[in-house]
Symmetry: C2
Subunit: 493 residues, 2 copies
C-alpha cells in the first residue's frame, strides 16, 4: 500500500499558492454547510510515520477552516477512568457531535499496532482488534458519520533524513525527541504491521488514504483535497431512504414463545421472602467487597412490561450496596448532547469502573423494543441494533464486566390489577400515565419484540434472565440470586 507514497511526490510553491485559496474557500463552505445542517459528524483520523507532517496538517486544517467547530484530540496514556473501562470507551468519549469535525491524532489504531510492533500481542490479537475496529467504524458510518482516514507515509530513508534535518536546525531541534529515534529503530516492523492493518481496515465506507509526507506542499494540498472531496460528496448525498429489510423475524407458528411458557404461579410468601432477602443481600454485599471483584465490574439491565416491578427490584439491590459503588441510570429521552452522538453513546458514558456497578433502569434495548414498536427507529435501524448490541456487550464481557439482563415478565391480567391499584393509591398514581395504557394496547407487538430480542441477544456471555414477576417477592429474589451467581461464576473464569 505504501509504494505509491514513495515516488517522491511534489508540488511547486507556485502551484500551491495558486490552488490554496480555492481549496480553503471550498473547505470553509463545506464546513459551514456541515455545521448548519448538523446532520452528521466528521471523524478525521490522522495516522502515519513520525515526521511525515501529521501535526502540521492538523494545524493547517485548523487555520484553513473555522477552528471553533473542530475538535482536536490527541490520545496519550489512558487515565485510570479510561483504563478501567473497555478500550473503546475513551474513543466513544471523544466522538464529535453532529455538525462538527473531530480530528483524532492517534486513535483506535494506535494501541493494536504499537502492541503488535513491540511484541506485546500475538498476531491473532491483532486480528481480533481489527475485527473490532471494522465493526466500530461500520457502526459510525451507518450512524451517518463521515469517516476520513489519512495515513502520512515516509520511506525509511526519508524519515531518517527528516529527523536529521529538524535536529540540525537549532530552531527546530526541540521537535525531535529521543522517543522519535527510539521508534525509528522499529521502522521495518512498524511498516509491516501498519501495512497489514491498513489493508484489513480499508473498507468501502471508510477507506484509508495514504499520503506521501515528504513535500509539505504536496501533502497539504493532497490532504485538503481529500477532505474537501469527502465532505462535498457526503453533503450532496440525499438522505437515505429507509431500506426495507427483506427478512424480518417471524413469530413461531404455534404461537408458543419464551414469555407465554413461563410459570407465572411461582410464589414465595412473606416469611420466606424476608429471610431470603437478607441472605441474598448479604451475599451480594460480600461479593462486591471480595478482592476478586476489584478487577471486575457489574452491568445490570432491567427491562420489563410497565408495572412489572423494575424499580422495586433495583431498590432491593441498592439497599445492599455502599452508595460509592453503584450508579442507577434511568433511561429517558436523550439530551441534546446525547442526540448528537451515535445512539449507543449515552450508554457507553455510564459504564462502571473496576469494582463498580451500573444498574440501567431500561437500557439500550429500548432500540429494539419501544423504538421498534412505536416506529421511532426504521426497520433497518432496529434490525442492525441486534448486532451492535451484541458487539457492545461482547466488549463489556471481554473486559471483565459481568453483564446480567432481566426481563421482568407479568401477565396481562396482573398488569391490569397493578394499574388499577396505582390509580387508587394516592402516592402511587404518579406511576401510571396515559402512556402506560397506550403501551398496554400494544401488548402483542411488545411481546413479539421481546421474543425477537431474546432470540437475537441472549448470548452465552450475556444471557437474558426472564423473570416471572406476578409475585414481586419471587422476582426480587430471582434477580438478587442471579446477580450473585453471575458474579461468582466470573470469579471462576
Amino acid at each position: 500500500m505504501f509504494e505509491s507514497a514513495e515516488v517522491g511526490h511534489q508540488i511547486s510553491r507556485e502551484e500551491y499558492k495558486t490552488r490554496v485559496p480555492a481549496l480553503r474557500e471550498g473547505l470553509l463552505a463545506a464546513q459551514y454547510q456541515l455545521l448548519e445542517s448538523a446532520k452528521f459528524p466528521v471523524i478525521l483520523i490522522v495516522g502515519g510515520v513520525d515526521g511525515a507532517g501529521k501535526g502540521e496538517t492538523v494545524n493547517l486544517f485548523n487555520e484553513w477552516m473555522d477552528p471553533r467547530h473542530i475538535q482536536t484530540h490527541g490520545f496519550g496514556n489512558p487515565t485510570d477512568e479510561e483504563r478501567q473501562r473497555p478500550p473503546m470507551w475513551r474513543f466513544w468519549r471523544a466522538l464529535p457531535p453532529k455538525g462538527r469535525i473531530g480530528m483524532l491524532f492517534g486513535s483506535w489504531y494506535t494501541q493494536p499496532v504499537v502492541d503488535r510492533v513491540c511484541g506485546n500481542t500475538s498476531r491473532s490479537d491483532l486480528i481480533a482488534s481489527i475485527e473490532e475496529i471494522r465493526d466500530f467504524e461500520q457502526m459510525l458510518v451507518t450512524e451517518g458519520a463521515l469517516v476520513v482516514k489519512l495515513w502520512f507515509h515516509l520511506s525509511k530513508k526519508a524519515q531518517r533524513q527528516r529527523l536529521k534535518d529538524l535536529e540540525s536546525d537549532p530552531k527546530t531541534r526541540w521537535r525531535v525527541t529521543e522517543t522519535d529515534w527510539e521508534r525509528f529503530k522499529n521502522y521495518d516492523k512498524f511498516r509491516k504491521v501498519s501495512e497489514y492493518t491498513l489493508r484489513e481496515t480499508s473498507t468501502d465506507s471508510a477507506p484509508w488514504m495514504v499520503i506521501e509526507g515528504n513535500d509539505p506542499y504536496y501533502r497539504y494540498l493532497t490532504a485538503g483535497t481529500i477532505l474537501l472531496n469527502a465532505l462535498t460528496r457526503r453533503l450532496a448525498q440525499p438522505p437515505k431512504a429507509p431500506t426495507p429489510i427483506s427478512l424480518l423475524p417471524m413469530p413461531a407458528l404455534d404461537s408458543r414463545n419464551v414469555l407465554n411458557t413461563l410459570d407465572y404461579t411461582q410464589k414465595l410468601g412473606r416469611k420466606v421472602y424476608e429471610e431470603q432477602l437478607e441472605i441474598w443481600q448479604g451475599r451480594l454485599n460480600l461479593l462486591l467487597r471480595d478482592k476478586r471483584f476489584a478487577s471486575r465490574s457489574l452491568v445490570a439491565v432491567f427491562e420489563g412490561q410497565d408495572a412489572a416491578g423494575k424499580g422495586g427490584s433495583i431498590r432491593r439491590i441498592t439497599a445492599a450496596l455502599d452508595a460509592r459503588r453503584y450508579k442507577v441510570i434511568p433511561v429517558a429521552a436523550p439530551t441534546d448532547e446525547e442526540r448528537a452522538k451515535p445512539w449507543l453513546w449515552r450508554f457507553w458514558r455510564h459504564l462502571p469502573m473496576k469494582g463498580q456497578v451500573t444498574l440501567y433502569d431500561r437500557s439500550w434495548y429500548g432500540r429494539v423494543l419501544v423504538e421498534r414498536v412505536e416506529k421511532f427507529a426504521t426497520e433497518a435501524d432496529w434490525m442492525r441494533a441486534y448486532q451492535e448490541i451484541n458487539n457492545f456487550e461482547e466488549q463489556l464481557v471481554r473486559n471483565d464486566i459481568v453483564v446480567v439482563k432481566f426481563w421482568l415478565a407479568i401477565t396481562k391480567d396482573e398488569q391490569l390489577k397493578r394499574f388499577r391499584e396505582r390509580e387508587e393509591v394516592s402516592f402511587k398514581n404518579h406511576k401510571i400515565t396515559p402512556d402506560d395504557w397506550r403501551n398496554r394496547r400494544k401488548w402483542k407487538a411488545y411481546e413479539t419484540a421481546v421474543c425477537d430480542m431474546v432470540a437475537h441477544t441472549s448470548t452465552e456471555n450475556s444471557p437474558w434472565t426472564l423473570v416471572p414477576s406476578n409475585d414481586v417477592e419471587h422476582a426480587r429474589i430471582v434477580v438478587l440470586r442471579t446477580i450473585c451467581e453471575a458474579i461468582e461464576a466470573s470469579f471462576n473464569r
Copy 2:
C-alpha cells in the same frame, strides 16, 4: 449542636404508619412540580455518624419518590482524573441538573473533616476549607439551587450499641465492617471536628439539620418532613425580581483607562517575528516537557475585541504542542446539559489534568462582557460574577494550575480595517458576521466592561495581560512569551 439529637427521640409505629402516606404524597407532588418547572436543582447532603441511618434514609427517599429523577452519588476515593484537578472538580461533576434531586453521600465536607480528625491537616487548613465551602454553597444557592443538609447523629453509647446489634444478627452482620470499628475509636475527635464544621457552615441559606438517628421511625419521618418543607417553601417562592445594585463601577472621570493608554504602535517586522516565533515556540515546548510541569497544568484564557486575533494566537501556541497535551475550548452557546447547571459548570468540566493545557477561546469572562453589555445577565448576576470568578481562579492557582489571561486589544480603526479585509477575502468572510458589526456599534460599552473586568479580576495570582494587537505579530510573541514566563515563574514557587 448535637445535644438535642441525644435526647432519645422516638415515634411510635402507629404514628409513623398514620403519617407516612401524606408525607409520601406530598414529597411526590413536590418532586413532580420540581421536575415540571425545571427551575432549580435540589442538592441533598447526607452526612453524619456511621450506623445512624444515612443509607437507609436515602433508600427510603428513593422508594417514596420517583427514583428516576433522583441521582444518588457516593464519593469514594477520587479517580486520577479527579485527583489531578482542584478538589471541588468531582463535586461540580456530580451536580444535579435543574428539576432533579441529587442525593450526595459524603460530599465536600468529608475530606476536610476526615483529614482534620486524622491530623493530616491543621486547624487553619480546616478554616480555609470551610471558607471555600461557604463560598461554594453560596454560589449554589444564588444560582437557584435548594441545598438541604442533613446530619444523622448518634451519641457514642448509641453508636456502640448500634454496631453491636447489627453484628449480633447473622443476617445483618455484613453491614458492619472493620473500618466501622476503626472509625468508632475516633468518635470523640470526629464529634468535635464535625460539630465545629457544622456550626461554621450552617448559614441562613443552607442550614444544617441535625437528626437523631437512633429510632428509625423518628429519623425517617423527620428527614422526610424536612425535605418536604424545604421543597414546598422553595417551590412557592416567587421568582426573584432582579435586585438593582446600589453601586456600579464607574468610568474614571478623566476617561483615561487601561485600554486607551496602551501603546498600539509597537511593531515587530517579519524577520524578527519569524525568529522570535521559533524561539518562543521551542521554549514553550520544552517547558511543557520539563519534569516540573508534570505536577502542574496550564489554563490560558483568550478574550479580545472581534478580529483582534485570538484564533491566530491560539494556533501559534498549539503549533508548538503535542496534540496529546492540549485542548482548545471554543466557548459558544451552552448545551442543554450545561444550561441545567450553575453557570461556571461548563468551564469546570474542561479543566486540564496535570501536565495538560486548556486554551479557552473566550471564557467565563463572557459573563461580565457580552452578557453584561447585551443584558443577558442581570446587574446582580454580573456583579457577583467578579467574586465567583476570583474564587474559581483562586482554586485553580492553589492547585498548581498556571492561569494566564489575555485581552487582545486593537483600536477601533484597526478593527474596521480588518472587518473590511475579511469581507473582501473569500476564505475569510466567514469570520465576519452581522453580529460583529453590531458589537462594534457598542464599542464604548464593551470598553467599559473590559476596564471593570480588569479592575475586579486582575489579581496577583492570575493577572490580566493586555496585549496591544494592532500588529498581530507583536501580539503573538507577547502571548507566547507571557505563557513561557508564567510557567517558569511557577517552577520557582
